[in-house]
């Protein structure tokens, strides 16, 4: 049966290939979107977990924009008074309150923007996984700088090297290079909070305070209390995650709708191809019926053709999704408000199975009517259609 079905498809190579390609494209889009949803959620979750905090104090304004910028190490237009740290630390629910001052320094000549982060010792409590690839994992004095892995590569610096800072008007000594973490830390230049405040002319100011609680169950009460801090607002990581997943989910829903149209169109292509094929094969099908094929066997024959087409289309689609994954990821990364550093497209086994399953379901559903039509071909037609 498989052989006969294969031969029927092979003898019309262009039509079969185009049909399978149409289905492959639809499956690739669906699998890609599904993989994006999974990957984005997973990466965002992982990145937020690695931040080691449950909430953040940021200046007034859009809290999600502020939090997203801080998480990516980008500066804000407004700042908080350093007193906000003391206020946070005095709250009984707060275990760690780590202030940070972030600054973006454009380097038009080099075509990049340097991202500086001023931190104090509390940061190490939030990120115990911080590891120095070379040198120290903490500052030795106010003139020392620790580079993220990518920043060190771009600057071509290693521990002991000097790094001139036009902002500070002085040279800083690189005392350590961090191991790659897959987070925004990789591209940052870390200095002590004091140094950063001097460098960027922001004495007594900070960009945000990252907060870890003694007990995450106390999030609601602590958040309510800290909301009272002057000039500051609280944004929790759960809210952040929910807000971004909602936003990305909406975009994804729109894209899934478009993809569903593509899948439906590909189903119609399979339907049209098989129906055309049945009409072309009417004489052959009648001959098969005459030489002993039952209606069920003819139905199965066309069903197998549909299965082969959709199987090839489905597998091709998954391959396409895997090959085009990096490209899709690059495009998506520029479109979403907070793109985590990890892989956004997660082509896991369930995602692949869903993509293939959808392709097969659509293809086989599209094959039912043509197969039924084929099974109704009367054997007597073998005589009349000669």
């Amino acid at each position: 049966m498989l052989l006969v079905a294969m031969r029927n498809l092979i003898c019309r190579p262009l039509r079969s290939t185009l049909t399978a390609a149409g289905l492959a494209l639809a499956v690739a889009v669906m699998a890609g979107l599904s993989a994006f949803g999974e990957g984005y959620r997973r990466s965002l979750d992982s990145e937020l977990s690695r931040m080691g905090m449950q909430m953040m104090l940021v200046p007034l304004g859009c809290p999600y924009d502020a939090a997203a910028r801080v998480l990516k190490g980008r500066s804000l237009e407004h700042s908080l008074p350093e007193a906000a740290v003391l206020e946070a630390r005095s709250d009984p629910a707060v275990a760690v309150a780590a202030p940070m001052l972030l600054a973006s320094v454009p380097r038009p000549a080099q075509g990049r923007t340097d991202l500086w982060a001023g931190i104090d010792e509390a940061a190490l409590q939030l990120k115990p996984w911080w590891d120095a690839k070379a040198g120290e994992r903490w500052f030795t004095d106010d003139d020392s700088v620790i580079l993220g892995a990518e920043a060190a590569e771009v600057e071509m610096r290693s521990p002991g090297d000097l790094l001139y800072s036009p902002e500070a008007g002085r040279s800083l000594r690189v005392v350590g290079v961090l191991a790659r973490s897959g987070t925004s830390d990789d591209s940052l230049f870390f200095v002590s909070l004091r140094t950063a405040q001097q460098m960027f002319d922001s004495p007594g100011r900070i960009t945000a305070v990252a907060i870890r609680l003694h007990d995450p169950e106390m999030l609601r009460e602590a958040s309510g209390r800290l909301q009272e801090a002057r000039g500051a607002q609280v944004v929790t990581m759960t809210e952040m995650m929910g807000a971004f997943l909602n936003l990305v989910g909406s975009v994804r829903s729109l894209l899934v709708s478009v993809a569903l149209v593509a899948v439906t169109a590909s189903g119609l292509i399979v339907f049209n191809t098989l129906l055309g094929s049945v009409l072309e094969q009417t004489r052959d099908l009648a001959v098969m019926r005459a030489v002993g094929a039952s209606r069920v066997q003819v139905f199965v024959l066309i069903g197998v053709q549909a299965g082969i087409l959709t199987g090839i289309g489905g597998c091709g689609g998954l391959l396409l999704a895997a090959l085009l994954g990096p490209l899709i990821e690059q495009i998506v990364r520029g479109m979403v408000p907070l793109a985590p550093s990890g892989t956004l497209l997660s082509l896991t086994a369930p995602v692949l199975a869903r993509g293939l399953g959808l392709g097969l379901a659509v293809g086989l559903a599209a094959g039912v009517y043509p197969a039924w039509q084929a099974s109704r071909v009367q054997p007597a037609l073998a005589m009349r259609l000669e």
Partner: protein
């Protein structure tokens, strides 16, 4: 001895729009094992309708038909298919070969539907009809005579008791047609019952018996 075909008052009426067409009217006959019977008559006399009924590809409007002692009246579609598959072989005027399959695969086709192991039988039939060297060829690479021999080999695959042929020499030149007639005679000599619908006088004359149809009625046997 039980006849291979037993037809009693076989009638077939079609509806064409509002008009009733009596394709066959009360046709009765019996055909025994090993007979070569020619069904002759002018176009529209009901020859093909009769062949369809004998091959269980259609059901009579009235009358009784038995194939190898199996009454066909009231049989389900599935049972008719099984009877056709196990007892009847078909040869068509235009050969009815599947163009995408090779000679050997075409011969093996009925085996695909009967679920029998037919590889050796197909090879044996290929040799028997003299097409060993054409085994892997496609139908379009064969001559008319070769295609008809493939069709005959295919019809014989399931070892039927009855071979039905619709104008088996209709598309062949006289020499090739002659070889097909010889093959059919050879098969009847081996005990196979062959019923051919034909306009070919030579084939009709080679038959032991002729059923002459005129306007759906059977004329007295010749």
């Amino acid at each position: 001895m039980q006849p291979v075909i037993s037809a009693l008052n076989l009638s077939k009426t079609y509806r064409r729009g509002t008009e009733q067409v009596h394709a066959l009217a009360s046709v009765s006959f019996e055909i025994g094992a090993g007979e070569l019977v020619a069904v002759v008559g002018p176009s529209g006399s009901g020859k093909t309708t009769l062949l369809n009924l004998l091959g269980c590809m259609d059901v009579p409007t009235s009358g009784d038909l038995s194939i190898m002692g199996h009454p066909t009246r009231g049989l389900s579609e599935r049972a008719l298919t099984r009877l056709r598959r196990d007892q009847v072989g078909f040869v068509f005027q235009h050969f009815g070969l599947i163009p995408t399959l090779t000679v050997e695969e075409n011969i093996r086709l009925p085996g695909l539907f009967s679920g029998k192991q037919v590889k050796h039988r197909a090879a044996e039939l290929c040799t028997r009809v003299g097409l060993d060297h054409r085994r892997r060829h496609r139908p379009h690479e064969l001559s008319g005579g070769e295609m008809q021999r493939v069709a005959i080999a295919r019809a014989l695959l399931n070892e039927p008791h009855l071979l039905l042929a619709d104008e088996p020499t209709g598309n062949l030149d006289s020499v090739t047609g002659g070889s097909i007639i010889s093959l059919l005679q050879e098969l009847t000599a081996q005990g196979l019952t062959v019923v051919v619908v034909t306009h070919n006088d030579r084939l009709a004359e080679s038959a032991a018996r002729r059923l002459v149809l005129e306007d759906g009625r059977l004329a007295p046997s010749i």
